[in-house]
C-alpha cells in the first residue's frame, strides 16, 4: 500500500504535491500496521498475534498502591509472554463483596448485552432468620473451566478453550442450537434472543444499538445478525485484557473484591491469593477445574 503511494508520488510534478503525498504516505505507513494487525487479529481469533498494542503507561511501583495498578502491572507482564504461557484467573473475595451489582451492570454496558444475556450475575443467599439475618453475595462470571463441559457438546466447533484458558465462542460459526447453554453446570451461558431493554418504548435507546467489541471485532446489533441468535458468555473481557486493561467487572468493583491476573506468574497478585487455604471453587466435584476462585 505504501509502496504504491510512493510510486504514484514520482509521477507528480508540483513540489507541494510531492511533500503532501509523502506526508500522507508516511502517515499511512504508521497507521497501516495497526489497522492490519487489527484485521489479522480478528481473522485469527484462535491465535491472536503475539505483538500487543500499545499498553497503558503505569506509575512507578509503590508499597501500598491500589490493587488495580498492581494487577495492571501483572497484566502487562503476562502480555509479554506467549499466549499459551498465560493462565488467566479471577479471584473474588466474598468477604469484600457488598452486593452492589456494579460489576453486573458494567459488564452489560461494556459488552452491550441485551435483556436475555448476563455474563456476571450476583447470586444472593440469605442466612439466618429475622432479626438475625445476613446476606452472602456470590458474583458468578464464566468460570473459564480448564475442563469445560460446554465446548465438546457444540456440534459445529464454534466454541473452544484458548491456549490461555479462556473459553470463547465464534459468533459467526455458532448455529444457535443452545446445547452448550444446557451443558454448563454454572448457568454461565446465555442466548441472545435479539430483544432490547427499551423495546416497546417510542425509540430503542441508541446505546442499546451501539456495537460491542467482543473478541476484537465490531458487532453491530441489527436484524437477526450475530451475536443475535447466538450463545454468549463472559470472556474475561478479552478485548480489554489484550490491550493491557483489566476486565470491566474488576475495574468497576467498588470494594476491590474482584482480582484478575496470570496464575502462571508467581509474582502476580492472584497467584498469592489462590494459594491460600480460604480459596475455593464452585462445584469442584464435577471435575470442571474452574479458573475463578472465591475467597471466604
Amino acid at each position: 500500500m505504501v509502496k504504491e503511494k510512493n510510486e504514484s508520488v514520482e509521477q507528480q510534478v508540483g513540489r507541494r504535491d510531492i511533500l503532501a503525498k509523502i506526508a500522507s504516505a508516511v502517515f499511512a505507513s504508521l497507521v497501516a500496521p495497526a489497522v492490519l494487525s487489527e484485521t489479522a487479529q480478528a481473522a485469527t481469533e484462535q491465535q491472536p498475534t503475539q505483538q500487543t498494542p500499545k499498553l497503558p503507561e503505569l506509575p512507578p511501583p509503590k508499597p501500598d498502591e491500589d490493587p488495580l495498578i498492581r494487577m495492571m502491572r501483572d497484566l502487562q507482564r503476562a502480555l509479554k509472554k506467549p499466549l499459551e504461557k498465560r493462565r488467566w484467573v479471577m479471584v473474588i473475595d466474598l468477604r469484600k463483596c457488598v452486593g452492589c451489582k456494579a460489576c453486573t451492570v458494567a459488564c452489560i454496558v461494556e459488552n452491550k448485552l441485551p435483556p436475555s444475556v448476563v455474563y456476571r450475575p450476583v447470586l444472593e443467599e440469605e442466612i439466618g432468620k429475622y432479626p438475625r439475618v445476613t446476606l452472602r453475595f456470590l458474583p458468578r462470571p464464566c468460570l473459564q473451566c480448564d475442563n469445560p463441559p460446554c465446548t465438546p457438546v457444540c456440534p459445529v466447533k464454534a466454541t473452544w478453550k484458548r491456549p490461555d484458558g479462556i473459553v470463547v465462542i465464534d459468533y459467526e460459526a455458532c448455529i444457535g442450537c443452545r446445547y452448550c447453554i444446557t451443558a454448563c453446570p454454572y448457568g454461565a451461558r446465555s442466548f441472545d434472543f435479539g430483544d432490547y431493554y427499551t423495546e416497546g418504548t417510542p425509540e430503542i435507546a441508541p446505546v442499546e444499538k451501539a456495537p460491542s467489541f467482543e473478541y476484537h471485532r465490531t458487532w453491530e446489533r441489527k436484524g437477526n445478525e450475530s451475536p443475535i441468535g447466538n450463545a454468549r458468555k463472559c470472556h474475561f473481557c478479552l478485548h480489554l485484557i489484550e490491550r493491557g486493561l483489566l476486565p470491566q467487572c474488576v475495574t468497576t468493583c467498588i470494594g476491590r473484591a474482584t482480582y484478575f491476573g496470570d496464575a502462571n506468574d508467581p509474582e502476580s497478585l492472584v497467584s498469592e491469593l489462590i494459594d491460600k487455604p480460604n480459596a475455593f471453587r464452585l462445584k469442584e466435584d464435577l471435575g470442571t477445574e474452574p479458573k475463578v476462585y472465591y475467597l471466604i
Binding site: P152, A183, I228, G229
Partner: protein, 428 residues
C-alpha cells in the same frame, strides 16, 4: 380370536373437510415459520435458562415416532404384519421430516444448518446424531422404494396425466414384470433387499434414537438427564409411540381384508408391551431419583408432579399416555374391538407428547446454582416457560403440514400392494 370390526364409513364431505382443515392449519404453520424467520427467536417464550422448549420437545417426539415406525416395519418381520410395512415406512419418513423441520426452526441461525456437516465435531452427540440421520433417511427411502417399485411401475403405466409423470419419476424408470413367474423372481429379489436394509436399519435406527436420548444423558450438569437409562427410555418410548401410531393408522386407514383385525391387534399388543416396559423404566428412574435425594434432582420431580403444569404428567403422561391405552388394549370388552384399539393407539400417540415434555423442560426449570433464579430479574432470565402464541401456532401448523404431507402420500402412493394382489390373488 375374532375381532368385531366396526364399520367406519364416513360421510362424503368428510374428506374434503379434512383437507380444508389440515390445509388451513398448515398455512398457519407456514405463516408462523415465516414470522419466526423474520423476527428471530424473540417470538418464542424461551429464556436463557430454559433454552429448549416446545420445538425441541416436538422434535424428539417426531424422531421417536419415526424410529418407532421404522422399527415396527422391521422388527415385526412376521409375514402377517408385512402389510403394515409400507405405511410404517411412510410414517417414519414423514415423522423424520417433521423432526428435521422442528429442530431447524429451533436454531438461532437456521441459515447455518449446513455447518453441522462442514464443521462437524466428533465430540458432540448432536453432531453424531445428524450424521446418523443421513444413513437413516437413505435406509428409509431405499426400503420404501424396493417395497413399492413394482406397484409404482405398474401405476406409471396404468395412470394418465400428472399422476403418470409422478409415478414414472418416483419409480425411477423401473419396469414392472408382466408374467407371474417373472414377478415372483422380482418380488423375491425386492424382499431380499428389503430384509437386508431392514437389518442394517435396526442399528441405525437404534443409534438415531439412542443418540437423541444421549444428547440429554451426557449432560452431567443436569442430574435428571444424566442417567444411562435415558437413551433406553427414549428408545422404548419411541417403540411404544411407533406401535401405537401403527395401531391407530391401521385401525382407521388400513386395508379391510381378513388379516386386518389381527394386524391392528398385533400392533396394539406391541404398544402394550412397550408401554409396560416404559412404565417400568420410568418407575425405576423416579424411585432411584427420590431415594438419592440430590436437591436439584428431587426438585425436578416436584416440578413434574406438583409444578405449574401438573396435568402434563397426571393427565397427559399418566392417563392418556399410559392408563387409557393400556386399559383399552388389555380389557376384554374393548380389546376385541378394532375401533377401541385404534382409539388406544391415538391416545398413546397424543399422550406420549407429555412424556417428552416432562423429559426436557422440568430439568431446565431447576436453577443449576442456588439463587441463580433470583440473581437477574428479566423476563428472558425467567425459570418459567409456557410456549408463546407463535410457538403454539408453528407447532400445531407444522404438525398439520406433516399430517397433510402424509395424507397426500398415503393417497398417491401404493401403500397396500396392488401387483402383489393381482399375482398372488390367483394362487389362493
Amino acid at each position: 380370536m375374532q375381532a368385531t370390526i366396526l364399520p367406519i364409513t364416513l360421510p362424503r364431505w368428510a374428506k374434503p373437510a379434512y383437507y380444508v382443515v389440515v390445509g388451513f392449519l398448515s398455512l398457519v404453520g407456514v405463516v408462523a415459520v415465516l414470522v419466526r424467520l423474520i423476527y428471530g427467536m424473540k417470538v418464542t417464550a424461551l429464556t436463557s435458562p430454559i433454552p429448549w422448549g416446545m420445538w425441541v420437545v416436538i422434535y424428539i417426539y417426531f424422531i421417536g415416532l419415526s424410529v418407532g415406525s421404522f422399527l415396527m416395519s422391521t422388527l415385526v418381520g412376521m409375514h402377517r404384519y408385512e402389510k403394515v410395512g409400507r405405511m410404517a415406512l411412510l410414517s417414519a419418513l414423514f415423522a423424520l421430516f417433521g423432526g428435521m423441520l422442528f429442530i431447524w426452526i429451533d436454531l438461532g441461525h437456521p441459515e447455518r444448518f449446513w455447518y453441522i456437516f462442514t464443521r462437524w465435531s466428533p465430540t458432540s452427540v448432536l453432531a453424531w446424531e445428524c450424521f446418523f440421520y443421513l444413513f437413516y433417511i437413505v435406509a428409509i427411502l431405499c426400503k420404501l422404494w424396493f417395497l413399492m417399485r413394482c406397484d409404482l411401475a405398474s401405476l406409471a403405466e396404468s395412470s394418465e396425466g400428472w399422476r403418470a409423470t409422478f409415478y414414472r419419476f418416483v419409480s425411477l424408470g423401473f419396469r414392472c414384470p408382466k408374467t407371474a413367474s417373472e414377478w415372483q423372481r422380482c418380488h423375491a429379489q425386492s424382499m431380499r433387499v428389503v430384509r437386508t436394509i431392514g437389518i442394517i436399519g435396526i442399528p441405525i435406527a437404534i443409534a438415531v434414537r439412542g443418540g437423541t436420548g444421549a444428547i440429554f444423558a451426557v449432560v452431567a450438569a443436569k442430574p435428571y438427564w444424566y442417567t444411562a437409562l435415558f437413551p433406553i427410555i427414549f428408545l422404548v418410548s419411541a417403540l411404544a409411540s411407533g406401535a401405537a401410531l401403527m395401531a391407530f393408522l391401521y385401525a382407521f386407514f388400513g386395508k379391510r381384508d381378513e388379516d386386518y383385525p389381527e394386524i391392528v391387534k398385533g400392533m396394539a399388543n406391541f404398544a402394550l408391551l412397550f408401554l409396560t416396559i416404559d412404565m417400568l423404566l420410568m418407575a425405576a428412574e423416579f424411585l432411584v431419583g427420590f431415594y438419592g435425594r440430590i436437591p436439584e434432582h428431587l426438585e425436578v420431580y416436584r416440578q413434574i408432579l406438583f409444578g405449574p403444569f401438573p396435568y402434563t404428567f397426571w393427565l397427559g403422561q399418566l392417563f392418556f399416555g399410559t392408563i387409557l391405552p393400556v386399559t383399552l388394549i388389555s380389557w376384554k370388552r374393548t380389546r376385541q374391538s378394532v375401533f377401541w384399539l385404534g382409539v388406544a393407539g391415538l391416545s398413546a400417540v397424543v399422550g406420549i407428547v407429555a412424556v417428552w415434555l416432562n423429559l426436557v423442560i422440568p430439568a431446565l426449570v431447576v436453577p443449576v446454582l442456588k439463587g441463580l433464579d433470583k440473581a437477574f430479574f428479566q423476563p428472558r432470565w425467567s425459570f418459567y416457560y409456557f410456549p408463546s402464541f407463535w410457538e403454539w401456532a408453528s407447532t400445531v401448523g407444522l404438525i398439520a403440514l406433516i399430517v397433510l404431507g402424509f395424507s397426500i402420500a398415503y393417497e398417491l402412493l401404493p401403500v397396500f400392494g396392488i401387483v402383489e394382489e393381482k399375482f398372488s390373488g390367483g394362487e389362493r
